[in-house]
Symmetry: C2
Subunit: 243 residues, 2 copies
DNA sequence: GCCAGCGTTTCAATAATTGAAACGCTGCTG
DNA sequence: CAGCAGCGTTTCAATTATTGAAACGCTGGC
């Protein structure tokens, strides 16, 4: 295990914890002496990735925010999608979000939340599973080489169980041009998703996520039509065919 | 120089560059052999802080976005300020932003941009100098122990030149309860800022930034009144005295 | 078909990491 | 108020990971 790994362990630990961590606790959690933890933190503090409060406790630093925003800002797909997602979210009052594959994994790149008291609120940058989500099925259908499909973890009773069942579902998705996911990943959560196709390639997917009860009320037809429309709108924008 | 420093050099370099970097170029810029760069990047890639595209080129990874958002989300001041800044920005059509001191430096924590074709667009997480900004003067006036004042870099002809001149300016700021900065940092940029005071402590500052010409048109009185009002509104919110 | 350049791997020489111990300090306690 | 426990920090010989030239397999251009 390299020194860098240890430093990143510390960085992620600090980022996960809401409140500041004492050096001794941090060292204990990382399984290293305080002196090592201290030396590892020094370069992180120097660059603002970690900070010390008045009592000497450590927390994640602001430079992380700047780094993260750099990543976000250079994603043309996210900037193209944002207004489209916001329009759709305002129209239906439900959460719309953009997911893309990066390094074989699906990550949430942009979102526009709905206005319900109970609503889907994905975290930007978070990963979602492949085999148990509408977006995952779209990737399996249109660009399987961009995602890695690991073992089929069972999240809910509705989660697809066998490779065979998944394959036939993916075939259906490919044929119809959109995908849904009703409580296959999380109980109570229903999602409809549509592919963003451009230059003959799958660039990402737009998803509408809501409570199953409201999803039923909206109707599968309306929901899928809305995500397909949004996905096509984004595809037009990234091709520059809309100002 | 520690290994961690080198890894962070690589990370910041990747974050700064818009497009993907080749390993050889990255190694050249960091002044190390390709093999070292490669080994340093491995743990970064493993955790998603860096990514490789299909051609093997490296770029900043999505995990950075997640880390950065963690930092942002645990800042109660930013969430409290956001709606206030947005209201103010919508009212005047100018950019309002929130700045706080962290580890002796001033960082932009939240913002709401105006709608002008030419408008201030600070980057979240970016640093601003102490001696040449309205916010810096507020900190020098109300909480000098929270900022480190290094040598007085000369940014424009209007930048304050001597410690003595700065001191008297700071005295005036302390007496009037707000600060301005007309082209002392950047040519064409004028700012008015007000302190967010809570629990007898300076928690941060609200700033209105615009082009000098429009700042003059708005009028110093209107501008300062608006930032003072916004700052007081935020102070009320963080004290829970407004729902 | 060749060459140049890429990302990656290897391995002995080297330089940084390690962690127990000690330091100065703070806050609690008998 | 003295004693103590725990904190963040610093130190330094023993250890271990880092280093970088060289070579590998590969791709794309000439």
């Amino acid at each position: 295990m390299s020194t860098i790994d240890k430093a990143l362990d510390a960085l992620f630990l600090l980022s996960e914890r809401a409140q500041a961590l004492r050096l001794a606790d941090l060292a204990r959690e990382l399984g290293m002496p305080r002196s090592s933890a201290h030396r590892i933190l020094a370069p992180l503090v120097k660059r603002g990735l970690a900070e010390q409060d008045g009592d000497g406790r450590y927390r994640a630093g602001f430079a992380l925010m700047a780094l993260g925003l750099n990543v976000a800002s250079r994603e043309p797909l996210a900037t193209a999608a944002k207004p489209v997602l916001e329009t759709a979210a305002a129209e239906l009052g439900e959460t719309f979000f953009l997911v893309v594959a990066r390094a074989g994994r699906l990550v949430v790149l942009e979102k526009a939340e709905g206005n319900g008291f109970l609503r889907a609120a994905p975290r930007l940058g978070a990963n979602v599973p492949v085999h148990a989500t509408a977006v995952g099925k779209l990737y399996l259908a249109f660009a399987p080489e961009l995602v890695t499909l690991d073992e089929l973890a069972r999240y809910t009773p509705a989660t697809v169980r066998s490779r065979k069942a998944l394959d036939s579902e993916v075939d259906r998705v490919r044929a119809q041009g959109w995908a849904t996911n009703v409580e296959e990943w999380q109980a109570g959560l229903a999602v409809a998703a549509a592919p963003i196709m451009s230059h003959g390639q799958l660039q990402g997917a737009v998803a509408l996520a809501t409570v199953t009860a409201r999803f039923t009320a909206i109707g599968s037809t309306t929901a899928t039509r809305r995500v397909v429309h949004a996905a096509e709108g984004i595809a037009l924008r990234i091709e520059g065919r809309r100002p």
